[in-house]
């Protein structure tokens, strides 16, 4: 087991180096002189220019520059935002909980609807329900979620006035961040309405972000169930006279869940991609919106650092899924 963990962990080192290389070189592709880019439109005098060149190490060979960059990254120094002068890492960590909260709710939403839908579709193969679920999930899979968000706003916020259009909570409330998760922080505070306000603000973004994972999970669960239901041990269970529920819930589902768990793990990247669009539509104060804002402010350190951090988070989650998978399924652990 230890050997398995060590091999998996060591495999991420080249990937990590690759991501840092990418982040390092991409910023150098920005047309123009990096110092002038950093200085912005106000310009900069030559003496200060030379000083900054030295300070950032632009006078050294490119390999050395990368070495300096990598050392800084490993020490948690990702530079400062050009706009706010705050360290990129601090900004990221103060905004990241909002994104995680949204992503967790979205995946929960996708699981709660997607698993049962997929299971029932598999049991009632070729029924109207099956065709309906597959049709809807294909549509969900093809959904331009930025448009889906706008349509839901039109329906629920404009037409029926049920949910707020943007933000994370009503401006009436100020909640001291304790965990960073508003659903928990509002419960800890002494304002019970604040919790409902937070829930209300979460509904639409959750649906929007959860749509694609929902479609993927429903499809995957269905095909995994279909495969398992054709196995010999299911026939044995039927022959033993077990109840239908017992067969599905105990014998089939447990085996069908293995590929589904992998797919859920792979959805993390999809979730972050979706979060960028969802947060932009709903003005959700998370890292996705922060990155897009950084692009339009030409705040390159934020763009570079933020993309690197998101890449590392996705990498780490994939690793955890991999390890968890090895724990659940001994077959994976023993084949290298």
């Amino acid at each position: 087991m230890l050997r398995f963990i060590l091999t998996r962990v060591s495999l991420i080192i080249p990937t990590f180096l690759g991501i840092t290389l990418l982040a390092f070189f991409l910023i150098r592709l920005v047309p123009g002189d990096p110092i002038e880019t950093l200085a912005g439109e106000r310009g900069i005098d030559p003496a200060r220019h030379e000083q900054l060149r030295k300070e950032y190490g632009f006078d050294k060979p490119i390999i050395v520059q990368y070495g300096i960059y990598l050392t800084r990254v490993l020490q948690g120094d990702l530079g400062k935002s050009m706009i706010t002068q705050e360290p990129v890492l601090n900004e990221f960590s103060s905004l990241f909980p909002a994104t995680v909260e949204l992503a967790l709710c979205a995946i929960l939403f996708a699981l709660i609807l997607g698993l049962p839908a997929g299971i029932i579709a598999a049991i009632r193969r070729n029924s109207i329900f099956d065709h309906g679920v597959m049709g809807i999930s294909l549509a969900g899979y093809s959904m331009p979620i930025f448009w889906w968000g706008l349509i839901l706003i039109l329906l629920f916020s404009v037409q029926f006035d049920l949910t707020p259009v943007s933000g994370r909570i009503d401006v009436l409330y100020y909640i001291e961040p304790i965990t960073g998760f508003l659903l928990i922080d509002t419960l800890l505070s002494d304002e019970p309405e604040a919790f409902w306000s937070a829930v209300n603000h979460l509904i639409l973004p959750t649906i929007v972000l959860g749509t694609v994972p929902l479609a993927v999970i429903a499809r995957m669960t269905r095909s995994a169930m279909l495969e398992v239901l054709g196995e010999d041990y299911i026939r044995t269970a039927k022959a033993k006279g077990l109840s239908r529920f017992r067969i599905v819930a105990l014998h089939a589902l447990r085996n069908a869940l293995i590929p589904v768990v992998t797919v859920i793990g792979l959805q993390v990247g999809v979730l972050f991609t979706g979060a960028i669009l969802t947060e932009t539509i709903f003005s959700w104060p998370g890292v996705g919106k922060w990155l897009i804002d950084a692009i339009f402010r030409r705040d390159y350190p934020v763009l570079q650092g933020g993309a690197l951090l998101l890449g590392v988070v996705v990498m780490a989650v994939n690793l955890l899924v991999d390890l968890a998978y090895g724990l659940i399924n001994p077959r994976i652990r023993h084949t290298r």
Binding site: L29, M143, F146, L150, I153, L154, T273, F296, V314
Partner: protein, 303 residues
């Protein structure tokens, strides 16, 4: 080029006299009603794109503030002259959607063509030469796959500067790993087969082996992936357009149209509804086609 090969069998079959594999393919393909529907929608979108100047009722870029934000014809205040209404500066939405079909198809086809061209060559090289070359190429592709696809595309476009060309390049790069992996996997399974050995013994060079012997035998998965790739490309390019990083206004690209109209969502539902519907239908059609092609071309599912 790739989409021609993708669509050729399906279109050519009904008139052709027994070309055996094609008829068999059509038999499997047409059994899947969703796939046939997808194909019809795609043919329709292609026709609309080709005939755009003929069928569009107005110039897509003609502004007329006198008729700004006119609703669709069935609503009060709408007129049949502007069937789907007008946008905030009085351009006809239907005409813009029709011309937008050209852009979206162009994006989908160009991106996938570029990705397949580069991807198959990289995959073939990795599969044939193995060793360090292979490790280098495949690790690079793994890194691209690790990063969330749209995030990578956004960063690339942010660095290169917004615009349709850069957005297409970014999306092509993001979907590249799928083709590299497919091509490499095909090479590895095919090179051990007798016909490749036979070709090699009769003196065929590596280039000939790669492109004349092995490549034709891995077209099926590539065709399926191409159809699914076109849908991803259209969707991602539209997302970039929506974020203001893709095609720039006044281009009638569907995602850009949505971004333009976003602030009017509370006043005029039609300016956001139709462009998104166009994206959804087109992407759905390519996904349906891809699913159908996979069922028809995958020998494992045939039996």
């Amino acid at each position: 080029m790739t989409t021609e090969t993708m669509e050729a069998p399906a279109v050519a079959v009904p008139t052709a006299t027994p070309p055996h594999p094609l008829r068999e393919f059509w038999g499997y393909f047409s059994a899947n009603h969703g796939a046939v529907a997808g194909l019809f929608i795609i043919v329709a979108v292609v026709l609309i794109a080709l005939l755009a100047p003929v069928i569009a009722p107005h110039d897509p870029n003609l502004t007329n503030t006198a008729i700004a934000l006119q609703p669709p014809f069935w609503q009060e205040g709408g007129s049949i002259a502007y069937p789907l209404g007008t946008d905030p500066i009085g351009r006809d939405i239907l005409s813009r959607l029709i011309f937008g079909a050209r852009l979206s198809l162009l994006i989908g086809i160009a991106v996938v063509a570029l990705s397949i061209a580069v991807g198959t060559v990289l995959g073939l090289v990795a599969g044939f030469f193995r060793g360090l070359t292979e490790i280098f190429i495949m690790r690079l592709m793994d890194i691209v796959l690790t990063l969330p696809s749209l995030l990578l595309a956004i960063v690339i476009v942010a660095v290169l500067g917004p615009g349709l060309m850069n957005a297409m390049l970014a999306v092509a790069l993001v979907i590249l790993p799928h083709y590299v992996r497919l091509a490499r996997a095909a090479v590895i399974t095919e090179t051990s087969k007798d016909y490749v050995t036979a070709a090699r013994v009769s003196g065929a060079g590596t280039t000939r082996l790669m492109f004349k012997e092995v490549l034709p035998n891995c077209t099926a998965p590539l065709i399926v992936q191409a159809s699914l790739g076109i849908s991803t490309a259209i969707l991602d390019a539209a997302a970039l357009g929506f974020l203001g990083l893709g095609a720039q206004p006044p281009s009638p690209e569907w995602g850009t149209m949505l971004a333009d109209a976003r602030e009017f969502v509370l006043r005029a539902w039609w300016v956001v509804t139709f462009p998104g519907l166009a994206i959804l239908i087109t992407v759905l059609a390519f996904n349906l086609l891809g699913d159908g092609l996979r069922d028809a071309l995958d020998p494992k599912l045939k039996r």
